[in-house]
Symmetry: C2
Subunit: 338 residues, 2 copies
């Protein structure tokens, strides 16, 4: 039985989607136990409506929400009745509680993970690793997507090692194609950090490093993992997401423009919906905070129930496959920091 804490507060559609998603995960995975954090009365009420397997459920009353307006480091220290505060408090030092799913404040989740739970031994800084859909119906992981706005080559090398193991163990990709985000594909491109990272990744025999890549190819399907600092990673993820959504909006406007275009849209409806589905980030779970001492999954703030279900299953897979131990082991073989 793997126990997973589910924060029911902080998302745009919380607590409904969080509770619904968790119940979906519980029903499909008999080996999961969920500990809900949030308003106990609300959670109990919702669960009773959803025909939930209550024998694998616990509820912890934590009515306060850490919002995006709270200063993360302050909130995670002082908002003691908040769901995230209580989650970290419970996980800290308890070997049976190792996984948390939340779609609340990213800042508070990172602050809590780092300050309360700590890192895997040898990890300089944990990094966020979400996945994005690619045009050939696959997916690509981005690490780091925003936890660290300033990175050195040693950190980027660690991100590559961690995310590579993550893809191998939980997505069953035997030899992930690892690329370094850069301003051009030639080895000598970029700043000093990029040039040094290129050398480190190329020399690491545990990685299938395919070289530098440009952001224009991010969703082409050529890569399984894009290694980058959190600033560039954040720019990349949001630019791809934003552009695809803007294109869909424009397409929708085209379809509803006049009678003729509406007729055309009728013929295409099913296939266009498939296109939209495919670009829907809700189908791809959340980002994992790799390098943290426990398994932390962050869903999109505006995510749906199905995303929370995927996030919970992600946490379950990571725990079942002992990813944290494997990262610990891999990092122990790296040369120590100078």
């Amino acid at each position: 039985m793997i126990k997973i804490l589910v924060d029911t507060l902080g998302g745009d559609h919380s607590p409904d989607v969080n509770i619904q998603g968790a119940v979906m995960a519980l029903k499909e995975n008999p080996d999961i136990k969920i500990i809900f954090l949030g308003d106990e009365a609300v959670i109990s009420e919702k669960l009773s409506q959803l025909n939930c397997p209550m024998e694998r459920v616990e509820i912890v009353h934590a009515p306060d929400e850490i919002s995006c307006n709270d200063k993360p480091t302050d909130a995670i220290r002082h908002k003691t009745q908040s769901s995230l505060y209580k989650a970290f408090e419970m996980m800290r030092g308890n070997d049976e509680l190792n996984a948390l799913v939340s779609n609340g404040s990213t800042g508070a989740i990172i602050a809590g993970s780092v300050l309360r739970l700590g890192r895997i031994h040898g990890i300089k800084r944990p990094a966020f690793c979400p996945v994005m859909p690619t045009m050939n119906q696959g997916m690509v992981a981005i690490c780091d997507s925003g936890a660290n706005v300033e990175c050195d080559d040693y950190m980027l090398h660690q991100f590559a090692i961690m995310a590579n193991l993550y893809l191998q163990k939980t997505y069953n990709i035997e030899k992930p194609r690892v690329a370094l985000l850069n301003v051009g594909v030639e080895p000598e491109k970029g700043d000093t950090v990029r040039k040094n990272t290129y050398q480190l990744l190329a020399a690491d025999k545990t990685l299938n490093f395919v070289g530098n890549m440009e952001s224009r190819d991010a969703i082409s399907g050529k890569y399984d993992l894009i290694v980058c600092d959190g600033f560039a990673g954040n720019v990349l993820c949001k630019a791809v997401e934003g552009s695809c959504l803007e294109m869909l909006k424009l397409l929708k406007a085209t379809f509803t423009k006049n009678l003729k275009t509406k007729m055309g849209a009728l013929f295409l409806k099913k296939d266009i919906m498939r296109l939209k589905d495919f670009m829907d980030y809700n189908n791809y779970g959340g980002g994992v905070l790799l390098g943290c001492a426990k398994t932390i999954i962050k869903g999109h703030g505006s995510c749906k129930a199905i995303t929370i279900k995927h996030c919970i299953e992600q946490a379950y897979n990571i725990e079942k496959n002992h990813l944290r131990n494997l990262i610990d082991e891999a990092i122990s073989h790296m040369p120590a920091l100078a």
Copy 2:
């Protein structure tokens, strides 16, 4: 009469598109004179086919091309028969030759501009400033899009001042909405460079600074100018371009999937073509290297004749509106570097 040098070598479809585009610009703008650089025989032959106003044309024989495989700094020093080498050689110290249009090697263009022509007095580093189409049929400028992979706050402030003047003087935008590319919109977001730049831009009364922005909103139409370092700017531009192109590809595949979707596509053809046109970077000219002592316009490597025409008209507008003098004047009011 404004003289503009046009490099006819180095692009994917050179010299044809360069020569055709230049002739289009010559015909529409009686106040432009073009100096072509490239293979003289080829250029003469093409011009004779295009009914070109030859009284406003000069040809400089420079048969060598600097390719992407050449090391830019070496090539710009030693490839003396190349079109770019000769262009910089001619412009250097000649007050009548102040504008160059090329769609050749970006690295060689930057190297030549910086090493041979120099910067406007007080400018720490020139920056690339292309424009991208936005979803509301407008456009947005990005500065820097890749000339400087490492930037400090002083440079970013200069990029803002230069690009702001560029938009005011050549695009007639009275108060460009200037935003700083960051990982979130709150003032305290990002690394030290971003935090300091935020303060500088907010304090500069010559700018209509609207705060931080996220890459997901780059093409939303909310901003006229996005200020960023060349690494993040490059990731942004290529991610937006790549995502839009991938979406169009997917859309095309959907349209040609079966008889039903083909029928639908027939009804939509005209409007979808408009969508494609609108996303076509060929309609938006090239990037200008702001802060250089002369006016340098770089077109996309794979650009068409119409882009070269737009690039030449951009150079013409910049010269006619004395942008370099205005930048010189504005920078002279900045506090000197510590």
